[in-house]
Amino acid sequence: MTTPVLSIRNLSVEIPTRQGIVKPVDGVSYDVGKGEILGVVGESGAGKSMAGNAVIGLLNAPAHISGGEIWLNGRRIDPLKGEDMRRLRGKEIGMIFQDPLTSLNPLLTIGDQLTETMLTHLPISRKEARERAIAALEEVGIPGAAERIDSYPHEFSGGMRQRVVIALALCAEPSLVIADEPTTALDVSVQAQIISLLKRLCHERGTAVMLITHDMGVIAEAADRVAVMYAGRLAELGTVRDVLTVPQHPYTHGLMASTPLASQGRKRLHQIPGAMPRLHHMPDGCAFHPRCPHARDKCRAAPLPPVANERAACWFPMLPEEVQ
């Protein structure tokens, strides 16, 4: 088997707080292969961004990696610090943030921001960098790239700015891109365009993508595989086809039932009762049991549920016939 681009093993992130240490990411493992899009999905606060920030080494103190390993193209990167980590950012790992209106420096032209990134990582001249910047803008679909390269961010619409952000994340040709809610702040009408752009670029270049979202619709649209997170832990991991059509974890099932997907009939939307536990008050056993319609005594007891069928972290995974 070829080595995956990104491999996370048992990753934990801890934050010391006044009320004690919390674990926003707790023993998470997944791989992302070359040219593959892994969707990371879960409710807000599930620890999706924390996991992404841990990979690119941008956790805000006092949050820190407290256990596990992160491997990038066969090299272990979680112990890297300072300059070593900085050199990976942008060059090996690109990142796309949620809000394109605030991701770009308002005082620098988009050309400046593109060229400074390329000149940091690539052995090219200023002139070459500018040419490549224009090409990069053309590639993400900015019309009239050669004229608009000297424009400031405020001269672009939200959707166009997110295209610029994508160009910036990809301009040094990283092997992994972490896209943290790349369409959440955008107008519904441009969301699909941005997702298909990201999908096309990464498939063309063989870039691995960690696509973080709370939107099952985006996952269905773009991802090859999906990791469902709940309260810092992995609930289910599998191909989009498997997980979306026959979810095995009751949480995934609840998420699916609460998402309006175009492919499904327009049934009444279901809501999972209750709320995700606060990190300070994590229940024993499976974190989902207080909200789970199928919870039994075993789920409430101390040991965490094992991963069943290499898919769902659940003592009693749902059977295909239970999923209508």
Binding site: M95, F97, T117, T120, Y152, H154
Partner: protein
């Protein structure tokens, strides 16, 4: 851009007119200049004659109008005390104040920005904490006290630096005298410049620090880090530039304030500038000198403000509305 500048100049003139009006309405509370000008053996007639001659028998709006009429032609009247044209006296005193203000200003801006950036980037370090604590003293001690403390330490106790005056000066051109060209000139400048600039420096430092901390929290800084830019580039190219947008305004105002605050420093150090001239003019109720000084200060304030506004547009592209057809 041009329309903007013209509109701002118009506003500035209006501000100047109002400042002048307020100043004139206050002069009569300072005292009666006639008392100082005539000796003990004066008659009522003398007083009335002089009052009419100086135009002081007129209501103050008319006095103000007459002043404006003269000022528009570059004529600020004659000093009651010295009997010489006010313009000449001011011109003679201006270099001392301007040199003091320039040195204090440069000191305050350079040190203020440098320390502000340092304390923002190293916000949890012990040095940054010490600087912040020390800056509280700088903000809370009144200027004259700082001046007196410096004099006590460096002039009285250590005897290193002079406590008053401007040292030897050199004549440059027809009216400018400079203290920059002699050793005693520089020595005399050090204490007043620190006294005058310290408050502004701490203010600029604290402002730069808090603005920079705010900027460092922004998404575009995070994104710049995520793109792998070197921390020097992130801090100076990305963060400092954005920090300066709001800071420039305040720095401009502070420069104006330096010239106005020079009154106190000049009094403490007997620095022969326009501030000291103004203090002496108040004691003598020398209305032409007071009026011209206040006008000069207001012009300076308003002018600096205007420059700052234009600079602001220059730094921040978002304010350049009517440039190349972007939207």
């Amino acid at each position: 851009m041009l329309a903007f500048v013209i509109r701002r100049i118009g506003q500035s003139l209006l501000v100047l007119l109002i400042v002048g009006l307020v100043a004139f309405s206050m002069f009569r509370f300072v005292g009666d200049p006639i008392d100082n000008m005539l000796g003990q053996e004066r008659t009522i007639e003398d007083v009335e004659r002089l009052r009419a001659q100086l135009g002081l028998d007129q209501p103050f709006p008319i006095q103000y109008f007459k002043f404006l009429e003269g000022a528009a032609q570059g004529n600020f009247g004659v000093s009651y005390r010295q009997g010489r044209p006010v313009a000449e006296i001011l011109l003679e005193r201006a270099p001392a104040t301007l040199e003091l203000a320039a040195v204090s200003g440069v000191l305050a801006i350079l040190a203020g920005i440098a320390l502000g950036v340092f304390t923002a980037i190293r916000r949890n370090g012990p040095t940054a904490h010490t600087i912040m604590a020390a800056s509280l003293i700088g903000v809370s001690l009144p200027t004259f006290l700082i001046g007196i403390l410096l004099i006590y330490l460096f002039s009285v106790e250590l005897g290193w630096l002079p406590s008053f005056g401007r040292g030897e000066t050199v004549q440059l051109g027809s009216w400018w005298t400079t203290g920059f060209l002699t050793e005693s000139g520089w020595k005399a400048l050090i204490l007043p410049a620190i006294t005058l600039g310290l408050y502004q420096m701490t203010l600029i430092m604290r402002l730069v620090r808090s603005e920079m901390l705010e900027v460092l929290r922004q998404d575009y800084i995070r994104f710049a880090r995520a793109r792998g830019l070197r921390s020097r580039v992130v801090n100076f190219r990305h963060a400092l530039k954005n920090t300066m947008v709001p800071v420039v305004t305040v720095i401009g105002l502070q420069l104006g304030a330096i010239i106005a605050f020079a009154i106190i420093t000049e009094t403490v150090f007997q620095w022969p500038g326009v501030g000291l001239l103004f203090i002496n003019a108040i004691q003598f109720v020398d209305i032409p000198v007071m009026a011209a000084y206040l006008m000069l200060i207001s012009v300076m304030f308003v002018g600096i403000n205007l420059i700052v506004d234009i600079l602001y547009v220059f730094i921040d592209p978002r304010l350049r509305v009517d440039r190349n057809g972007g939207h």
